[in-house]
């Protein structure tokens, strides 16, 4: 059913660079504010450590990988254990390589400038998120209309 679709947003762990921190915060924004009822985040360290619930979710539901830098840990890990991701975001493409590779940041020290970066990344995630939702809705509608193989709107027995 289309209304039950959830989308997994898999953020890189973000320990090595600012891009990672921005990834985490943007993912949290999706979860807390932008699409709270539709977003499920996956704990990447647990996913890698063998978390079966995490892996099953990513196999069953669409996922968007959000990576801080071009090492693309989130995308690679998700594809290794649970199959192709449905969307990818590379934060360094949005905020620039140099900024992205600067030191990791505590959430205590987030400035307005950082928040703008978070908003930009969250906007890009939202764009991909909604595209996946819309495509899924169309697929659902299409499969219902032709489920009985004729043009009778599915009423044939």
């Amino acid at each position: 059913m289309a209304e039950e679709l959830k989308i997994g947003v898999v953020s890189c762990s973000g320990e090595d660079c600012l891009g990672g921190t921005i990834s985490r915060l943007a993912t949290r924004k999706m979860l807390d504010e932008v699409r709270p009822d539709k977003t499920v985040t996956i704990c990447l360290p647990l996913f890698l450590a063998g978390g079966q619930e995490e892996r099953m979710f990513a196999k069953t539901f669409p996922t968007i990988a959000v990576d801080g830098c071009n090492k693309a840990c989130a995308k690679r890990a998700t594809e290794k254990y649970s199959g192709k991701v449905n969307g990818t975001i590379l934060v360094s493409d949005i905020i620039g390589d140099t900024v992205s590779e600067s030191a990791a940041l505590s959430t205590r020290d987030v400035t307005a400038e950082h928040q703008t970066m978070v908003d930009k990344v969250a906007a890009e995630i939202t764009k991909q998120f909604d595209a996946i939702l819309n495509a899924n809705s169309k697929n659902q509608a299409g499969s219902t209309a032709t489920s009985c193989g004729c043009s009778c709107s599915g009423g044939c027995g």
Partner: protein, 290 residues
Amino acid sequence: MTKKYAVLPCNGLDKCAGQMAREIALTVCEKTDSQLICPVFYRVADARYNKIANENPLLVIDGCATRCASKLAAEKNLKIYRKMTVTDETQKHGVTLAIEPLRLWEDEINLCAALAAELIKEEDVAESMAAAVIYPVPGDYLIHTKDKFMFRIPPEGFYFTENDCWVQPVGNRARIGVADYVQQSLSDIMFFTPPPVGVEVEQFGEAGAIESGKAVFELVCPVSGKIVAINKELLNSPEKINENPYEQGWIAELELTNFDEEKDFLLDADGYLQVLKRKVDEFHVNQRKG
């Protein structure tokens, strides 16, 4: 002197405790020369962190009982110097974690700062409070055998709890540790979480934990007092508890506050031997039923 660590946090994003693990790790690194290990990148490409992990005392910060960071350290064959689990600490400090939303609020931020400070300064406190007390080494042991297992109990100078912990008092100081039964039951001990130096512990309160692949054992402190030292050897070599839990495997040293009265609630070697025999028999019966 502050500690310099290689810091391996769990870094989980989907639980408040994971967020706190990251926050503590960042704070420790900001305030010392410690270096951070990204658990995700370390798992997929370890070359970048091998040197850091092998050349510095390793501090592992787990968010929750899933202990992803500890498991990663075990997979990489790293020796853990110091370990912290955020959910245990929040319980200890009476902080209730928000389930939803997952943001860190003032209480969590303050606790992160306090825990980071504890990790950084612990060494100073330990060195200033430790005093030279000579603890007699047991000359022989009471032995109880069951099938292939052999359990030792020092006959004199030690008192025991029914929870298989011991105390060896000398003057107003005492060492505490776990009995042979614990190390045999746990098998190979891999991690040692010492009690914080400087804290007051009540009789039968918690005083650190040890952990094997099988289980975690929280040490029940047989006496009340102030922790004045921990057995630092165990941080790098927790297997010393397996080798001899009564000598080189001692856990911590306390300044006693009320031993004369508390002694009444403890068992001597003969009393503990009866408890041990019963436990061993029950364990074997259960094993056969299983």
